[in-house]
């Protein structure tokens, strides 16, 4: 009977997987031992044996040969066996075995002619030390998931004090470790890991980043879920994957990183990026996603310093978002900040300095070009303008380079029952336009404390963000003046005064405008939250979260006495495009002898959320149920505004309104701001969610939220938002075991309903009276108070139903993983300020539910590690998103036909009332609808295709318009690459937008050749004759392909670990943003605002884009 599998059954090993072989051997061994263990004595076999540092197995073999005794053992047991050195002559077998086993962690028993080996029982405490195995020295290496060495990882022997840290190459040596010891590896930002030494002297460890471990755990509303068991569509972005650069805005951090998020950023440091998720889900000023920061719903995203982010989870389909009910229609972005960790105290500093330069300018004519054009067209300049200068007006208002720097210092730590993290962040970012700047300090403290034998966890988070935003005064007007000014005029006259020529209508020196005005806003945002989590019996957990948010803004504007020179009668605003937005005359704003405006407002937001979670497993069934209640009260616009004028000196600015004498100016009226700024809203919800999981194979999630809100009409205060999602983890099925292609495969499907309650005021549903102006009554102008809006008791939320089907898989042993999602998103009852007959509703507008819009799309994200080769690795991630947006109806209860709303009216010279875009069912939001350019006629004048298809020189608004393209892209792409070589890492990120059109109204306005002697034109307009008065007409001539690929970022980093005994890690990097853009677009930059109702219109509202180079350092102590 030769049952030693190791020796006797090699064939078996070939056919059976090792695990099974092992199991079989164990079973055989155990059974045999149980049956045969009868007696231990009775044999006295003698033998001679002489071995030196031989393995126990070898020794067994020799004994077997010499005695015929068979050894029974589990192969595993010998793993910790010590080498044997023995020299005996003709000794009794038992004596020999005693010697051999003396220092082994094993003992033996002789049953019949079989020697059964077993693991020694733990030695009794009385055992003398000499009999214990001597401590060993363990060494090894700690790496991250990508194979990069981790320096400064702390390694402790569990239950002991002290420890060591890994070196720069991730290696460690820890002497005097018991073979049975357990080592604890911990490192900030990484998941701690416990490893049993088990006699090994070499241990290599892969530490998983904390977020990666969360990557297996996803933050969802009111809890976390494991990614592998998710049935909804959620994208997670880790901090190292966020965009790099001198970025102050969370939207920009995510740009290009999440399929389905269309983010367009402005170059303005004080303007947040427009974020659109899976296409516009409403025509009502489509807003961005709803932010939930550390569980605080609706938190202000400006309180987060990018360095403090631990993970961002983007909830996309309704199964994921419906738990947030009527605020979820535009998606939910969950931001989780870093927390302190047990046992690891850490101080980290991150900082950078950045330099920005304008990446591209408009190609306006310079003096030579303009003079040539004038000569060719027999034009001449007014002596008021022609001062023989050659001014680049773009440079005149731009900084040659803008400087920014950011510093983040955080310290964190934790003991057995509490942890903390505190950080402070300072950002100073200059805008590229002279005078614009953002300074911001964010301080954050987060503490978690356990109590009642760790059954209760309290958390306190306090974060305060203080910003000081200096804007370019009248920025949009300055930008348009910058483009219009003739290069032949100087910025300043010979006598040092600013050049001006008011003979040209609406012509004001942009440099003087900046110099003689101030515009500043200070914000302070405080967010405090207090959380309690109680672990109850029966798998129940109770959470109570209280939060308070307060935003204060203090705004000041000042236009000094110079502004009194400006003609009040043609000083217009240059607003961003939209529906019903036209330029406004603001000349009277400037008063006399200086004019100041001051406003101070506070918004507060109180939230109580409480929920009970039940988590139980019954065999293969596991259930997670959440039941909760949420209350939120918001007050916005608590404050005031005031203005004054007629100041004795200009240096006072907006700092002392009391010095003004406004009443000396008879027609001046103090401006207290708009009516209805103060608004109070309340949101109350009950919600429940059930997750059911059978054997990690079949997953079901269902949720229901009952939402009430004060913003809706009396008849529709409450609504229900259900969702259901199912998933099948095919990869876990038995029949998948036989294949090697997929290492994971999951099929998901979900349907749910969410709502939108944003984009309109708190009292929109109610009859409100307000001041509509003043009227003559018995000799005086008295206030006229009338309804500002009618009551609409039926006003309710927009309803967005989303169907989502997705598949997640990993192939090539996980080297390539991918997710594909298809969705169909249908919004009905869009809240919109519908036009109705003015005779029915005064003002001709009413907020009502009506119409519908559809978004269908497909998203793909791929992640691959094509190369991992010792020192070198390459990781690449690609995401693609395709969306088709279509308005399906615009019918509302007040009109039986509501269609074709023309909007986006740039009001170019002689083109008042010309619109660029059209809201119409069957067409996407942002549909361009304009004149069709048809080249020049015989006399060189621009001609257009009329509505009837004939050619015309005098096209009419509306009747001669044609459908001309879509402002929304068909494909969005983000492609990131990380290369690592030894201590270097290189990250390259490219971003692309394809298939969209941009209306370049800026270019159209700068083609106005017939006024080339008074307003500058683009060099490209040189081919048009000056008599061609309609060459700049808004038409397809200025509708351009908006596709682009941007080399968004390249970052090269070098990391050094363990410098001296104080510094754990040190990383230097250099990063460059916006290295180049591949595009056919002729404007300043093809990244034009894609949010709101008027996407894709370049409208003299561009803030120049920049190219940034920054140098940064991260140190941890």
């Amino acid at each position: 009977m030769q049952l030693n599998c190791h020796v006797e059954a090699p064939l078996l090993r070939v056919f059976l997987r090792p695990k099974i072989c092992l199991a079989m051997r164990m079973i055989v061994v155990m059974l045999t031992v149980a049956c045969l263990q009868v007696s231990a004595g009775g044999y006295s076999q003698k033998l001679s044996l002489s071995v030196k540092r031989q393995s126990l197995e070898e020794v067994f073999r020799e004994i077997k040969q010499k005695t015929g005794y068979v050894f029974w053992y589990k192969l595993d047991m010998l793993k910790h066996a010590r080498k044997v050195t023995i020299s005996v002559f003709d000794q009794e077998l038992v004596k020999v075995l005693d010697v051999i086993f003396k220092d082994q962690p094993l003992s033996y028993e002789i049953v019949d002619k079989t020697i059964a080996i077993k693991v020694k029982e733990t030695a009794p405490p009385a055992l003398d030390l000499a009999s214990l195995p001597p401590p060993i020295t363990v060494s090894g290496k700690v790496v991250d998931e990508k194979g990069g060495p981790l320096a400064g990882v702390s390694i402790q022997v569990k239950g002991a004090t002290g420890g060591v840290q890994t070196g720069a190459d991730g290696s460690f040596t820890i002497p005097g470790v018991k073979e049975s010891a357990v080592l604890v590896f911990s490192y900030v930002g990484y998941q701690a890991q416990e490893v049993a030494v088990s006699g090994r002297t070499s241990i290599n460890i892969v530490l998983r980043a904390e977020t990666q471990s969360l990557g297996d755990m996803v933050v969802v509303g009111y809890g976390r879920a494991s990614r592998k068991n998710l049935s909804s569509s959620v994208s997670t972005v880790k901090p190292e994957d966020l965009n790099k650069g001198a970025i102050s805005d969370v939207g920009q951090l995510l740009q290009g990183k999440v399929p389905g998020l269309n983010i367009s950023a402005s170059g303005d440091p004080n303007k947040t990026a427009a974020v659109v998720m899976r296409g516009a889900s409403t025509v009502n000023s489509p807003g961005g996603p709803f932010y939930v920061i550390d569980g605080v719903p609706g938190a202000d995203i400006s309180i987060i310093a990018p360095d403090d982010i631990a993970s961002i989870d983007v909830l996309k389909d309704a199964a994921a978002t419906a738990i947030y009910g009527n605020r979820a229609a535009s998606g939910i972005i969950m931001v989780t900040t870093k927390k302190g960790r047990k046992g690891a105290t850490q101080v980290t500093y991150s900082g950078y300095v950045g330099l920005e330069q304008v990446s591209r300018k408009l190609k306006l004519m310079d003096t030579t070009q303009l003079r040539t054009y004038a000569r060719n067209n027999s034009l001449s300049f007014s002596p008021s303008d022609d001062k023989n200068a050659n001014t680049d007006w773009q440079s005149a208002i731009e900084r040659s380079s803008a400087f920014s720097h950011n510093h983040n210092l955080s310290f964190s730590g934790g003991g057995e029952h509490s942890n903390y993290i505190a950080s402070i962040n300072y950002l100073d970012k200059q805008g590229i336009l002279t005078g614009s700047e953002l300074k911001r300090v964010i301080a954050r403290l987060s503490i978690e404390q356990y109590a009642l034998k760790d059954h209760v966890k309290f958390g306190l988070n306090v974060s305060n963000s203080n910003s000081n935003a200096t804007n370019v005064p009248l920025q949009n007007i300055v930008l348009i003046q910058m483009t219009k000014h003739l290069p032949i005029s100087p910025v300043k006259n010979a006598d040092g005064t600013y050049f001006e020529n008011f003979n040209t209508t609406g012509y004001f020196n942009p440099v003087a405008m900046i110099h003689h005005a101030q515009d500043n806003t200070k914000y302070n945002t405080l967010v405090g939250s207090f959380t309690t989590e109680v672990k109850l019996p029966f798998g129940l957990t109770y959470n109570l979260n209280l939060s308070y948010q307060q935003l204060n803004s203090l705004h000041g504007e000042f236009y000094d006495s110079y502004y009194s020179n400006y003609p009040t009668s043609n000083f217009y605003t240059n607003p961003d495009p939209g529906i019903g937005i036209t330029h406004q005359l603001i000349g009277s704003l400037f008063g006399t002898n200086g004019s100041a405006l001051r406003s101070s407002y506070q918004n507060t937001n109180k939230t109580l959320e409480t929920f009970l979670t039940w988590n139980r497993q019954f065999g293969a069934h596991s259930i997670n149920a959440v039941l909760g209640y949420s209350w939120q009260g918001n007050i916005i616009g608590d404050g005031f505004q005031s203005t004054s004028t007629n100041f004795p000196a200009d240096n006072i600015g907006y700092n002392n309104l009391a010095l003004g004498v406004p009443y000396a100016i008879s027609t001046y009226r103090i401006n207290f701001g708009n009516d209805g700024v103060y608004q109070e809203t309340r949101f109350i919800s009950d919600f429940a969610r059930l997750n059911y999981n059978y054997n990690d194979k079949y997953l079901l999630q269902a949720s229901l939220r009952r939402d009430g809100s004060s913003v809706f009409g009396a008849n529709n205060e409450w609504g229900y938002f259900p969702s259901v999602g199912v998933a099948w983890r095919i990869g876990e099925e038995g029949f998948m075991k036989a294949q090697n292609l997929f290492s994971d495969l999951k099929l998901r499907g979900s349907y749910g309903v969410t709502g939108n309650s944003s984009g309109f005021g708190a009292y929109t549903a109610q009859l409100i009276y307000g001041i509509t102006g003043t009227y003559y009554s018995n000799g005086a102008q008295v206030g006229a108070y009338g309804p500002l809006q009618g009551a609409n008791p039926n006003l309710k939320w927009e309803r967005t139903a989303t169907t989502n089907v997705g598949v997640d898989f990993a192939i090539l042993k996980g080297k390539l993983s991918a997710s594909v999602d298809w969705y169909d998103k249908n919004t009905t009852g869009m809240i919109f300020n519908y036009s109705v007959s003015s005779s029915l509703v005064p003002g001709g507008k009413i907020w009502a539910n009506g119409g519908s819009i559809n978004n269908k799309g497909i998203e793909l994200s791929l992640n691959a590690t094509p190369v991992t080769n010792g020192d070198f690795s390459w990781n690449t991630g690609l995401n693609l998103a395709h969306n088709v947006n279509r308005i399906t109806s615009l019918i509302n209860p007040y009109t039986n036909k509501q269609d074709s709303i023309g909007y986006s009216d740039p009001e170019g010279k002689g083109q008042t009332n010309s619109t660029l875009q059209l809201l119409k069912s069957g067409h996407p939001l942002g549909q361009f609808f304009t004149l069709q350019y048809a080249g020049k006629d015989a006399s060189g004048n621009s001609q257009f295709v009329s509505g009837k298809g004939t050619l015309t020189n005098s096209p009419a608004i509306g009747t001669d318009y044609h459908y001309a393209g879509n402002a929304q892209p068909t494909l969005l792409m983000g492609w990131s690459n990380t290369f690592r070589y030894k201590k270097f890492d290189l990250n390259i990120f490219l971003r692309g937008v394809f298939g969209n059109k941009i209306f370049d109204a800026t270019r159209a306005d700068l083609f106005s050749v017939n006024t080339a002697t008074t307003n500058n034109i683009l060099a490209d307009a040189a081919g048009d004759k000056a008599t061609d008065a309609k060459n700049g007409y808004y038409s397809t001539r200025f509708l351009e392909n908006g596709s682009y690929v941007r080399f968004d970022n390249a970052t090269l980093g070098y990391s050094i670990k363990n410098i001296g005994e104080y510094v754990h890690t040190l990383r230097f990097y250099v990063s460059a943003n916006n290295l180049f853009v591949i595009t056919k677009y002729k404007g300043i930059d093809p990244e034009i605002n894609q949010g709101g109702v008027a996407p894709g219109v370049d409208y003299n509202n561009f803030y120049p884009k920049t190219r940034t180079v920054m140098f940064g350092v991260n140190v941890s102590f």
Binding site: G843, N896, K909
Partner: protein, 560 residues
């Protein structure tokens, strides 16, 4: 599973039953809600304000343009692309408008908005305590509404009637004759309750004589509106006003001041006027912006402009801070020569409303303008186009297209962008530029809708058209009654329909009645200026896009 669902349901019920946790309404304490407003007499009074704010809104801009630029009265051409604005002005002049024309749209919306606001205000006032004050207020509001329907009947002819607030049923067009009957009955129903006084307390709100004047206008034009002449009804309506004794003609010495920024309730000739005040943010009355030549800003203190530190009064100088440049009016509008021809009587005080020929400072010095040779005349081909050229401002009669070398382009209604082009056309400053306003372009001039002189001329015309003379007044005596305070030229000895037309031109320029007169006198299809269209369908404007897109039951007027 079932048990879990029961638990969830039960818990939801439990939560739901905690009503204090589910009170979603918020108390509104920052707004005027129906709970608090209007309650008092003063509040009810201020609640009528929005009607008058709405009425004031677009009367002197949009409504003025639609009525005036479509007639032979005035023209607003383009200058180097400026003021072309999608040919919305050109269309008015050439009668080539369509349903998309901006003015056709905005006037419809304006008048419908006054109507809707009135309906709403009537609804709001319904709970006010009953009494004669309430009856008068309601009658005044209904008269405003009737005025608007009358104006819509005049412009768009076939208009839907919406008179009840809260109704969302869309109504189709009411044909012009029925609309006529409706407005007539509304006014007649209102008259018994309307005040019979004028003066400061009544100013800006309609009294009984406003209603009679609207009726007189309607009856005089009844042939146009309904096909049936109603001259005797017109005469009776005029007599109601005449017999009130509240109104009289302004003497020659103060005729021009009647339209100055200082005008107001003391004007004995105003039966109904819309009060404008430069201090109101939505006081959209700024004729000087359109009518004043761009070099005359300082001369007329346009928008508070002042002659700065430079004493040499030559316009257009570019010394920094000279103040000779600021606050320029755009000044694109001028009178058509065909219309100005009616001002041939040198003794007529009404000639004072025109700016013609060479211009002077108030002290008699010539008003000089400095520019360049090329800036003066874009077709200049001499050797020194940029050389300074100084000339005395000279306004020339009428618009003429010059050679294309000047930048003129007839297909764009564009007369060029040089000084010669901008100085073409005589200007009207009847609504005298507001020299009191230093901040905005809004003017203080109140704008009369109905003046007593109109009553006099309407009665004269009605008699000439076959009506029966009353109270011993003849067409000739009435016309001479007016002319006696307008000109020193001897009284007329004969009178014809055409001479009444000419007198109306002289009397009501820039007062929005000329289109109405032209149609009634059969002259709307004449050729004038650059207009050759003679389609009689154009006597009525199209139902605009904005109306069609919000009310699909509307049908378009014939010919559009």
């Amino acid at each position: 599973m079932k048990r879990i669902l029961i638990y969830i349901n039960f818990s939801l019920l439990l939560l739901g039953s905690l009503s204090s946790c589910h009170k979603v309404e918020v108390a509104i304490n920052s707004e005027l809600t129906p709970d608090v407003y209007p309650q008092t007499a003063a509040q009810f009074n201020s609640a009528t304000g929005p009607v008058y704010v709405a009425l004031r809104g677009n009367y002197s801009v949009d409504y003025y343009f639609l009525q005036t630029l479509s007639s032979s009265e005035a023209i607003l051409p383009a200058f180097g692309g400026n003021w072309y604005d999608g040919d919305k002005y050109e269309q008015l002049h050439k009668h080539s408008w369509n349903k998309d024309n901006a003015w056709v749209n905005s006037v419809w919306t304006y008048l419908e908005n006054v109507i809707g606001t009135t309906n709403q205000t009537l609804y709001i006032l319904s709970p006010a305590p009953d009494g004669s004050a309430k009856q008068t207020t309601l009658a005044e509001l209904k008269t405003v509404r009737a005025l608007c329907y009358f104006l819509m009947m005049d412009l768009y002819a076939n208009v839907p009637i919406d008179s009840v607030y809260g109704n969302t049923t869309l109504h189709t067009n009411t044909p012009r004759p029925q609309l006529f009957t409706y407005v007539e009955s509304e006014l007649k129903a209102a008259i018994p309750y309307l005040n019979r006084v004028s003066g400061q307390a009544q100013y800006g709100r309609p009294n009984a004589y406003t209603a009679w004047t609207i009726l007189a206008k309607m009856y005089l034009n009844a042939g146009v509106y309904t096909g049936t002449q109603r001259n005797d009804d017109c005469i009776a309506a005029c007599d109601s006003v005449i017999n009130s004794g509240l109104y009289s003609l302004e003497p020659m010495s103060t005729y021009l001041q009647m339209f100055y920024p200082t005008n107001g309730p003391t004007q004995k000739e105003f039966i109904f006027a819309i009060p404008y005040d430069a201090s109101t943010t939505n006081g959209y009355m700024f004729h000087a912006r359109y009518d004043l030549n761009r070099n005359l800003g300082i001369r007329y203190k346009y928008s508070g402009s002042t002659n700065g530190s430079i004493t040499d009064p030559v316009m257009n100088q570019t010394y920094p801070g000279s103040g000779l440049l600021n606050s320029q009016p755009s000044g694109p509008q001028s009178v058509l020569p065909e219309y100005y021809a009616y001002f041939s009587d040198p003794n007529d005080v009404r000639n004072g409303q025109w700016l013609t020929g060479l211009q002077y400072w108030p002290d008699g010095q010539p008003l000089m303008v400095t520019t360049t040779n090329k800036g003066y005349d874009a077709s200049y081909s001499g050797s020194s186009p940029a050389a300074t050229y100084t000339y005395q401002l000279n306004l020339t009669p009428g618009m003429q297209f010059r050679s294309t070398a000047t930048g003129a382009n007839p297909s764009l209604f564009d007369f060029g962008n040089d000084e010669i082009a901008w100085n073409m056309g005589y200007r009207n400053i009847k609504f005298y530029p507001d020299y009191t306003n230093t901040v905005s372009r809004n003017q203080n001039n109140d704008v009369p809708v109905f003046r007593y002189s109109d009553i006099i001329l309407m009665k004269a015309e009605a008699i000439l058209r076959g009506g029966t003379a009353t109270q011993g007044q003849t067409a000739l005596s009435l016309a001479n009654q007016l002319r006696a305070v307008r000109t020193t030229t001897p009284a007329w000895t004969t009178i014809t329909v055409d001479s009444v037309y000419a007198e109306r031109c002289r009397e009501f320029s820039w007062e929005c009645w000329h289109r109405n007169d032209m149609i009634r006198f059969g002259k709307f299809e004449d050729s004038y200026g650059f207009k050759t269209d003679s389609d009689p369908n154009h006597r009525i404007f199209p139902i605009p896009t904005t109306a069609l897109s919000t009310n699909a039951t509307l049908t378009q007027n014939p010919g559009y």
